[in-house]
């Protein structure tokens, strides 16, 4: 006699296990926390905390709500970062070229937020922009004014910042797209400026 009971039990285990795996990965779409966040944001845009206070590389104090009405491309950096932030800076400089028209029209702002506000003074932020070959238009580097502001940004954008033993930070490397209503609508790969520019172009056209 074929082992029917073992077959039935195995099928049940397979179905239950498959269902658990599917539920834990948004239907086999997202296996990491980062992709899960991307999937969730695309489906349900998240309002970003508007009252977070920032100090820019020109020592101006602003709130995130001051940037309402414009599209925002946000990344998270720290000026001592030797690896990813350099790549992020290069991506943003390329985006300044690719998206010069909406920037000139006042429809788009690029915003680099420091996750190391104690160290990243306005002078250091300005030096970071210079190193990344800032084209001089539409790119703001800023640090959160207080610890609370940084925490609210981390929560609002779903950014995880893990301090490393060497005074470095492991942090999420991505470009966050915020619409003029102040909602986080998409999280994009930071490696490819073309993809980011294309995503923004299609949003601006629609």
């Amino acid at each position: 006699m074929p082992p029917w009971r073992t077959l039935a039990a195995s099928a049940a285990v397979l179905i239950a296990g498959g269902a658990a795996l599917a539920a834990a990965s948004d239907g086999f779409q997202a296996f990491t926390t980062a992709t899960a966040l991307r999937v969730a944001v695309r489906a349900h845009p998240v309002r970003i905390p508007a009252t977070v206070r920032l100090e820019t590389h020109k020592s101006r104090r602003i709130a995130l709500s001051d940037l309402r009405g414009k599209w925002l491309l946000v990344d998270f950096i720290y000026t001592r970062c030797p690896t990813y932030c350099v790549a992020l800076g290069a991506t943003f400089a390329q985006l300044q070229d690719r998206l010069a028209a909406p920037i000139a029209a006042g429809r788009l702002v690029l915003l680099s937020v420091s996750v190391d506000p104690d160290h990243d003074t306005p002078q250091r932020l300005a030096a970071y922009l210079a190193r990344a070959h800032d084209r001089g238009a539409g790119w703001i580097a800023a640090r959160p004014l207080g610890v609370q502001d940084l925490r609210r940004l981390e929560r609002g954008f779903g950014v995880t910042v893990t301090p490393d033993p060497l005074g470095a930070y492991a942090h999420s490397v991505a470009v966050y797209l915020v619409d003029p209503q102040g909602r986080l609508v998409e999280i994009l790969d930071a490696a490819d400026a073309d993809v980011v520019a294309h995503a923004l172009d299609s949003r601006l056209r629609s």
């Binding site: 073992t6 195995s10 285990v13 296990g17 990491t32 926390t33 899960a36 492991a170």
Partner: protein, 223 residues
């Protein structure tokens, strides 16, 4: 100390906040120490399963297939970077990890392994080795952090250790194949499907069993 007490003690030790924190502070310790130890606690618990219950489970777990499938799927679940992140940040998810790794991975593995024949065991060990190499390679090759709560360096170190573990498993299995061990087993009490303890002995005389013709039955030793 009997095995189920050992299991309970190990489980309680792993649950102690300082030990739990230390093992979960790194991806490497969590995957190569905490999870295997939790599975071991569950496996020890297997000795406490009364023979009557074992006999009841038996027909549902021929050749240990169902149990090994359950163990594999449980392992796969906790291999998702997302679920490890969630376990590291939420206590309820971590508790679910503790319970499922011991009860749905270690325990079924202990109940099923002695019942698995040469072929089933071979498939399982091969898949384990392949998983070590696959994950190790992935961790070494990927340019991004897969778990958001662990640093990149930790992920790379785990990748190296997994490759080393894969190599060690290959060497071990090759040693077993070349210098014996496979097919030659120490006599041990084995619980048969017919409901009685008996001594399996070393290389029992071939006889027709479970519909397998007599000459073949010595190669398909599943009970």
């Amino acid at each position: 100390m009997s095995r189920h007490w050992r299991a309970a003690l190990l489980f309680a030790l792993l649950l102690l906040p300082p030990i739990r924190k230390a093992l979960e502070a790194s991806m490497t310790w969590q995957m190569l120490a905490q999870i295997p130890l939790l599975a071991l606690a569950g496996a020890w618990l297997g000795a406490a399963v009364p023979p009557r219950l074992r006999a009841a489970i038996d027909p549902w777990n021929r050749h240990g297939v169902t149990g090994l499938l359950l163990a594999t799927l449980t392992a796969a679940f906790w291999m998702l970077p997302r679920t490890l992140d969630a376990a590291g940040t939420r206590a309820t998810v971590d508790l679910a990890k503790y319970l499922s790794v011991s009860l749905l991975l270690g325990l079924p593995l202990a109940l099923s392994w002695p019942r698995a024949g040469f072929v089933v065991r071979g498939v399982f060990v091969l898949e384990l080795i392949a998983t070590c190499f696959r994950l190790g390679w992935l961790y070494l090759a990927t340019p991004v952090r897969l778990c958001t709560i662990y640093p990149f360096s930790d992920q790379r170190r785990l990748g190296e250790y997994l490759i080393a573990l894969g190599v060690a498993l290959v060497v071990w299995i090759a040693g077993k194949l070349f210098w014996g061990g496979v097919g030659r087993r120490r006599p041990q009490p084995v619980f048969t499907a017919r409901g009685a303890w008996r001594n399996a002995g070393t290389n029992p005389a071939p006889r027709a069993r479970d519909g397998v013709p007599a000459p073949l039955s010595r190669f398909f030793r599943a009970r």
